[in-house]
């Protein structure tokens, strides 16, 4: 126990943190009704992934993971940008961004 404490948070601690964050994000995506809130939850998931990458990078002692995470950040930004544009489109069409209102296509 002491060793663990002395060694500082190990890789698995960071991974678990990322895992929890990812799960929370998933929960958000599945349970929120507002599209923007859902996008926020997606952000959480993306962050969890980045923490994962950086943690691995740290423990491998290389920068590859960091670079990967940087790509991840950029990708998420791009995604969110387009996502918000779609949300705006939805809003303009329906004067609302409640995801439950969008189920015209089904079956």
């Amino acid at each position: 126990m002491n060793e663990i404490i002395a060694a500082g948070p190990g890789l698995s601690a960071w991974l678990i943190l990322a895992g929890v964050l990812f799960s929370v994000g998933v929960y958000g995506v599945l349970s929120r009704r507002n599209l923007i809130a859902i996008l926020c939850s997606v952000e959480l998931m993306a962050n969890a992934v980045n923490i994962n990458l950086v943690a691995f990078s740290r423990f491998h002692g290389d920068t590859l993971g960091q670079a990967f995470a940087l790509f991840g950040i950029a990708l998420t930004v791009a995604e969110v940008g387009v996502g918000l544009a779609i949300v705006m489109l939805v809003y303009r069409q329906r004067q609302g961004i409640d995801i439950d209102d969008l189920h015209d296509l089904l079956g």
């Binding site: 998933v26 809130a37 980045n50 740290r58 920068t63 940087l70 790509f71 950040i73 791009a78 969110v80």
Partner: protein, 187 residues
């Protein structure tokens, strides 16, 4: 010891922020809680010796994404208002169970399988090394990334741009017929 404290603080802030993101009733609060989470993440990057990344996180995310989100909230709150419903009927429980299952599995996998890696003690100049990585082996994805951002930008503009007349369609009936010819009149 100090590392643990830092970790726990960061983790606590991060998770509390995250939980608030998925549960806050006010949309603006949601976005702000997200900002907090993102900043906590940046702190985590620092703790993991990824300084450049932390900076990028603050700049890109907190500066860019959160702002965008706030704009979006402002633009769309006319009808929906600040208060938003969180749970769909039964959806919340279902989502919680599934997320819990996911979490359990992820933790199990992590606990069982995390490789025995020890963080090197020497302090690399991570920013410089990062730059080298970017411009050598990752140059191709890097170039492609620029194109991706361009594409996303163009795409977002295409979608968000209001077309000339700005006719608002009433909410169409379910099973609406797609591709009405009168749509061609716009632009």
């Amino acid at each position: 010891m100090g590392a643990w404290i830092a970790f726990l603080v960061i983790a606590t802030v991060l998770l509390v922020g995250a939980l608030m993101v998925v549960s806050a009733r006010d949309l603006v609060h949601t976005v702000l809680w997200l900002a907090l989470s993102l900043i906590a993440t940046a702190a985590a990057y620092v703790a993991l010796h990824a300084d450049f990344l932390a900076a990028a996180q603050i700049l890109l995310y907190t500066g860019g994404v959160v702002t965008l989100m706030l704009f979006a909230v402002m633009l769309t709150r006319r009808q929906s208002g600040a208060q938003v419903l969180i749970d769909r009927a039964n959806g919340g429980l279902r989502a919680a169970l599934l997320a819990a299952a996911l979490l359990g599995l992820l933790v199990t996998a992590t606990v069982r399988g995390t490789p025995k890696l020890v963080a090197p003690t020497f302090n690399v100049d991570s920013t410089q090394a990062l730059g080298v990585t970017f411009l050598t082996r990752l140059i191709l994805p890097f170039e492609l990334l620029s194109l991706l951002l361009l594409a996303a930008m163009v795409g977002a503009i295409v979608l968000a741009r209001r077309d000339g007349k700005g006719v608002k369609l009433a909410r169409l009936a379910p099973r609406v017929v797609i591709g009405q010819p009168h749509d061609g009149g716009e632009g």
